[in-house]
Symmetry: C2
Subunit: 344 residues, 2 copies
């Protein structure tokens, strides 16, 4: 049988309370008693039952992370960072994939599904949007990630989409490019608050500031942001015969697909076209040529999100703070695809 606290108490010749005190580092325990308990624990191979502890304390020590899918590099790296950040708070992370399924995203935010064993939830939506804001009810500790929903009733950690996209385009302008294409716009072309729309807005703002007219032919809609779609959009653009000397891809995956299509077509990067992506995934450093990108501050996002969640978990109901919006710092990472050296 698996030993319980009672067994430990019996072996150590103390009460169960003392065992609990030792385990939870309660201060007032005589060193000799502590030693006896510790050796009993060792001897029996005792491990606290976390379900019992969870039942009693109302805490499981686990938080949930819901992302579209881990095979997308960005989310794998985000999950990696979040798991590391959670470790510092001694929290485990239960990872749920919503797989681009709206109903699953709804199930997740409404607290259904497997994630109920958790103390709180980090959620990165891919289908829910601004109109679904009302679904986010702060009935449990919850931190929103990403840039599809703004102004909701929960904490939110995101990036400076508009200004960092603007900076990316300014980077291309800075190396003399004037005909800058964009791939990854949202197919419906509405101006909403989605990453695609915000980054497109940054693109337009940069061109406008440089007094360069926006050419709609250079703006290509792509969804979803998969590599093959990036390649396809690039092939279309090339086939259309519209001249361009710069490319802003709304994420790195698209950019890598585009790089491939440019390579196939015999275009040289950055000589013929300078390319910049967005996200700064690990892979950007190792493509041929290496890919310039926008580092949106993923580690910072992860740490901030976990910290906010922990605060919400520890918050008492009668002292609840208003929802917080945090935007991480970004930076432009210049690599070969915009004519810079091999350094990362």
């Amino acid at each position: 049988m698996i030993p319980t606290m009672h067994d430990v108490a019996r072996v150590a010749g103390v009460s169960i309370k003392t065992v609990s005190n030792v385990i939870n580092d309660f201060p007032h325990v005589r060193p000799s008693t502590r030693m006896r308990v510790l050796s009993a624990i060792e001897q029996l191979g005792y491990r606290p039952n976390l379900s019992a502890r969870g039942l009693r304390s109302g805490r499981t020590g686990v938080i949930g992370l819901a992302v579209p899918e881990l095979r997308q590099n960005y989310f794998a790296e985000l999950a990696d960072s979040i798991i590391r950040a959670a470790e510092k708070h001694d929290l485990g992370v239960l990872v749920e994939q919503t797989s681009g399924d709206r109903d699953r995203e709804i199930a997740v935010v409404t607290g259904a599904g497997r994630l109920r064993l958790t103390d709180g939830l980090l959620f990165s939506p891919e289908r829910l949007g601004q109109d679904d804001r009302h679904l986010l009810r702060p009935t449990f500790p919850f931190v929103l990630l990403g840039e599809r929903i703004f102004g909701g009733p929960t904490d939110h950690v995101t990036m400076h989409n508009v200004s960092s996209a603007k900076a990316a385009v300014e980077h291309l302008l800075g190396i003399g490019r004037r005909r800058i294409a964009l791939i990854g716009a949202h197919p419906d072309q509405r101006e909403e608050v989605r990453p695609a729309d915000l980054r497109l807005r940054g693109y337009k703002a940069a061109l406008e500031a440089a007094a360069i007219p926006v050419d709609p032919q250079l703006i290509r809609a792509v969804a979803p942001w998969h590599r093959e779609n990036g390649a396809e959009a690039m092939r279309d653009l090339i086939a259309a015969g519209i001249p361009f000397d710069g490319l802003f891809a709304l994420n790195d995956t698209l950019a890598l697909g585009a790089l491939r299509a440019l390579g196939e077509a015999g275009w040289r990067v950055p000589d013929d076209v300078a390319v910049i992506g967005f996200d700064d995934i690990d892979e950007a450093r190792f493509s041929v040529p290496s890919l310039s990108s926008v580092d949106p501050g993923r580690d910072e996002i992860a740490e901030t999100a976990v910290e906010l969640l922990v605060e919400r978990i520890n918050e008492r109901d009668d002292e609840r703070l208003p929802p917080l919006l945090v935007k991480s710092e970004f930076r432009i990472v210049a690599r070969e695809s915009t004519g810079f050296g091999r350094s990362s």
Copy 2:
């Protein structure tokens, strides 16, 4: 307050047992009673407390997955597949990263740490090896992944390393390559049971079968299998001036790094050097040129591993079956880097 079963029972005008019966789809409940209970649940927004259920039943409905780190593509894709496979069994997945830290791997296999809230563990070691076999004590449901430890006392799901590596080299031989380099051998060059050693053995076997002598100069040690190290090994090999016309990289990440180094040096792939990797990560389809690889059957590994774990979880102590070793089917995926078309 969060409603409990008692509240539901009160509202529905039944006993707590009946509520439990309804929730657990117990057959003998009168339809009218069931309806009353269901609407009470709806009305109160009742959700079962999983900690209580876990305490009572001894099951949490969560399994642990311990991998080195998710930012490595292979593990992100493995985690993705495993989470999907676990879903089918209605299990959540708590993901732990061991970060290439031996002590953390030991903590994980001995059942310490955060993973105690789980019903069982899937473990993919990166540091523990054959000599640590004794640490794997089947005191809880456990399935080993990967190819660093064989003959242990637990179930094990792995791939056909030797024969699939042999097939990869045969693929290169089949397109007429005779001077085939290998990158990713283990630096200590001992013949152990590690992926590097097993795949190296497959390489040698293929050459031997083709009556081609093994040239030690063509075998490059690399550790760890990171992209930059693959690039570096390739640069070294090129700098050494040893002629070669084929390359077998022991995983895709190395191969992609090598591809980059070949590109830098102005070598054409596959014309000058045909390249094949191992793992068939998503990225292999989209590199320039696309990368031929060995698909080790990752989805199959994930599904088999979860199934074995579920069986172990459901197994009674007095009917325990001997440990099982399962090897997934592999296949060679020929792409541009070995002269084949753009199809995946």
